[in-house]
């Protein structure tokens, strides 16, 4: 029974992903992406990784895709963009990448096949993951924290309007020089 569920979920994931790649409407493609992610979450659960499955749903489907949706709405990708997408996606364009992908897939399968191993069928729960994460992987966790911080700063910088208004300007606008805001933070950090 569970084995059947696995193959069904795999099929759903593959088909949904195919639609993500081929769809011309961004919103619909995102919905397919959510479907694909949920299917993969089911597979995670079946592979004995419930914590990963939960994170897949919460973070991927819940947060990241929502972020995509925000941007899609912000940029107002309506009917005209669907038409444009359709114009961009000519059938001839698929041939090259498809051949390339086919070659790679054959190689992958050729390598994987015949290992004759099965997944353990045992569950690795959140407790074990947490212990390992904050044990041997603690440095990597710190580094991931740095990465997220850097992404935060980068996103904040890229999102500002002056980049567009003052192209080529090398000075910062006055609004950035806000000592009133910076000072309490600095002192708070100092106390901490």
């Amino acid at each position: 029974m569970e084995t059947a569920i696995f193959y069904i979920a795999a099929l759903v994931a593959a088909l949904a992903t195919l639609r993500v790649v081929t769809h011309v409407n961004a919103s619909h493609a995102l919905i397919y992406l959510v479907v694909s992610l949920l299917a993969v979450a089911v597979i995670f659960f079946l592979l004995g990784a419930p914590f990963a499955a939960a994170l897949e749903v919460v973070v991927y489907a819940g947060a990241i895709v929502v972020l995509f949706l925000f941007v899609v709405m912000m940029l107002n990708l309506g009917r005209t963009s669907v038409e444009r997408e359709r114009g961009w996606l000519r059938p001839g364009m698929w041939i090259g990448p498809a051949v390339l992908a086919a070659v790679l897939l054959v190689s992958f399968v050729f390598v994987f096949w015949g290992t004759d191993a099965k997944t353990s069928g045992e569950m690795v729960g959140p407790r074990a993951v947490g212990i390992a994460l904050f044990g041997p992987y603690i440095i990597a966790v710190e580094l991931a924290g740095f990465l997220l911080l850097a992404a935060l700063v980068g996103a904040w910088h890229l999102g500002r309007r002056y980049l567009e208004e003052r192209r080529g300007a090398d000075d910062f606008p006055e609004e950035d020089a806000s000592p009133d805001e910076a000072a309490p933070e600095a002192s708070a950090e100092g106390n901490a």
Binding site: G96, P97, L100, V103, L104, S107, F110
Partner: protein
């Protein structure tokens, strides 16, 4: 002994002060610092010398610091004091101090370089420092440092009046020609280090004696000749003598200090310091004698026809240093250093009094535009007269004591005694002759120019002291180097043998002939010089026996020709082609840089696929 460090340190400090602050120092301060630092150095040298004798005249070391310490090689900045170093230090600081004092007056109203007063003294102090490091250095590295340092200062001071390109040319010539010698010397030092494994001078000489003495002396010969090459370049001996006459482009105190009293005698010092090498290899020592004799001969003939008073003195200096080399070559070691000292006295005196004459005539150096000056310029005349009789080596002057010993030692030379003595005697005759000519033309005869002697105490004071030193400097003997040099002090000779009498008579003969020819005009010199053979000979002598012409055609012109042919720099083509190829490859490579994200991603995927296929053995 503790003050030994102060001897070189004082001029160094003086140099640093003057060099850093030269725009801000008033002239008086610059003069006090410039001359005072050398004065302090001289005083320290005096105290050090007294201590040295009180302590029993034993060689002493003073370690200042270790230069570096790498893999067992740890050259130290260490001072070494023995009789030879003490004698040199005394000359450098003593005569140097007098010349510095003189220069404070000489350079005071300098019209060519009015802003350069402090700069002048900065260079002079640096020179004194470098020269002291050269003679006090305990290892070859420090010696070489000083050696190059004095060369640098010589270059800077010859070209001191840098607004005239000719002076810059003279400075470059001096630098390049001495560099030829320096290369030989550097090679010699490298070879010594390689063969003996140490750069400590005393230690290496001991080792040299142990290794080569009595055995195969080829290495000693090679090293000796290389060192002689360095000495020849620095001391303006044949065949690298051509730079010294041109070096007279510098201010006269520079000529007195660097190109008469101290730097040009560095070669003599070097050979005396390394005397063990030359004792091991008699061939090398013979080469020293031959070089000295040749220079002595050529320079004294050349001096006879010069018209520039400083060039006369320059050629005279060359010939006197030739005497020193000659003395070293024939084994009169102590006499060579003795002559170095007396020569420093009387040649500095001659240069400084010539400087006074030149200054009084508003920088006129042509002796034929002088004449009859003895009444107007009594002090320069008197001092120049004293300097001249010392140069001509009349009995009981300092020059006599040193030169006499050299010639009599030469006569006793084992293999070539008579030739050596004869050549030196002829040169002694020539010395007296050209000195007489110079004195008669400059100070007697009709007056040809206006002269204003404006010298003050700081100019005639040093002249007076140098007069006393020149006259009396030879009376007290010269025992200071007896423990250092192999001949154990000056040789003792009877002054009543035939050879001694002839030797003594030579200067008188020269003066007499000079008086007849240039004073009484028994022979019409102008007519002689105007005749075809006479003119050719005169031009040959005037040009320094054609050495400049030879080098110009043999070295300078071919090099210039090659440089002109090779304007495009053939060797550079290798690099230009490399650059072109690299650039072309870059252009080809940059064609793939379309700037399109998807193109890059496709290439990556393609590469990955290719990689997989190769790994799986499908292709390749």
């Amino acid at each position: 002994m503790d003050l030994l460090w102060l001897v070189p340190a004082a001029p160094l400090v003086g140099f640093l002060i003057l060099f850093v602050l030269h725009d801000y120092l008033p002239k008086v301060v610059a003069a006090v610092v410039g001359a005072g630092s050398v004065g302090v150095s001289a005083l320290a040298a005096l105290l050090v010398g007294m201590d040295y004798y009180e302590a029993g005249a034993e060689p002493t070391w003073q370690l200042l610091w270790t230069w570096m310490s790498v893999a067992g090689f740890d050259p130290a900045i260490r001072l070494y004091l023995d009789g030879l170093a003490l004698a040199m230090t005394g000359v450098i600081t003593g005569v140097g101090f007098l010349i510095h004092v003189y220069a404070t007056g000489y350079m005071w109203n300098d019209h060519e370089e009015p802003e350069g007063y402090a700069r002048f003294f900065a260079y002079m102090n640096l020179f004194v420092f470098a020269m002291l490091m050269l003679v006090l250095g305990d290892n070859l590295l420090v010696l070489f440092l000083g050696w190059e340092g004095v060369g640098l200062c010589s270059y800077l001071l010859i070209g001191f009046y840098h607004r005239d390109p000719a002076n810059g040319y003279a400075a470059r010539k001096a630098f390049v020609v001495t560099r030829v010698g320096d290369t030989f010397m550097a090679l010699g030092l490298f070879l010594m280090f390689r063969e003996l494994g140490t750069i400590e001078i005393q230690q290496s000489l001991t080792l040299a004696n142990e290794q080569w003495s009595g055995g195969d002396t080829t290495m000693a010969l090679i090293i000796g000749l290389l060192l002689l090459g360095g000495a020849v370049g620095k001391s303006a001996q044949v065949p690298l003598q051509t730079w010294l006459p041109d070096a007279m482009a510098g201010p006269t105190p520079v000529s007195a200090l660097i190109h008469a009293a101290t730097m040009v005698t560095a070669g003599v010092y070097l050979i005396a310091r390394m005397h063990d090498i030359f004792l091991i290899s008699p061939e090398a020592q013979l080469a020293v004698a031959v070089v000295g004799l040749a220079t002595l001969f050529i320079a004294s003939f050349t001096a006879l026809v010069q018209t520039d008073i400083k060039r006369v003195l320059a050629f005279s200096t060359m010939s006197q240093i030739g005497y020193m080399f000659f003395a070293l070559g024939v084994g009169a070691w102590s006499a060579a250093i003795f002559h170095l000292m007396t020569h420093a006295f009387f040649k500095a005196l001659l240069f400084l009094s010539a400087g006074s004459v030149i200054l009084a005539l508003h920088h006129e150096q042509d002796i034929f535009k002088m004449g009859g000056l003895w009444r107007k310029l009594p002090i320069p005349f008197a001092s120049m007269l004293i300097g001249s009789i010392c140069l001509a080596a009349l009995p009981f002057t300092s020059g006599f004591f040193s030169k006499d010993v050299i010639m009599l030692t030469a006569f006793e030379h084992a293999s070539h005694g008579l030739v050596f003595w004869g050549g030196a005697a002829i040169a002694a005759f020539m010395t007296a002759l050209y000195t007489t000519r110079m004195m008669i033309i400059v100070f007697f005869g009709e007056e040809r120019s206006e002269a204003h002697d404006s010298s003050r105490l700081n100019m005639w004071g040093p002249l007076l002291v140098l007069c006393a030193l020149s006259l009396l400097g030879g009376w007290f003997g010269f025992g200071v180097v007896a423990d250092v040099l192999p001949d154990g002090g000056l040789g003792e000779f009877s002054h009543f043998s035939a050879v001694a009498l002839v030797t003594m008579a030579m200067p008188f003969l020269g003066i007499f002939v000079g008086w007849l020819v240039f004073g009484r005009r028994v022979i019409d010199v102008e007519a002689l010089a105007a005749s075809k053979a006479g003119n050719a000979l005169k031009r040959f002598f005037f040009g320094g026996w054609g050495f400049d012409w030879l080098y110009d055609n043999a070295v300078v012109r071919p090099v210039m020709w090659v440089a002109r042919i090779n304007k495009g720099d053939i060797v550079d083509w290798i690099y230009r082609i490399t650059v072109a190829v690299t650039r072309g490859a870059h252009h080809v490579g940059s064609l793939t840089q379309s700037g399109r994200l998807r193109w890059y991603a496709a290439n990556m995927a393609f590469g990955l696929a290719l990689f997989f296929l190769i790994v799986l053995g499908v292709i390749g």
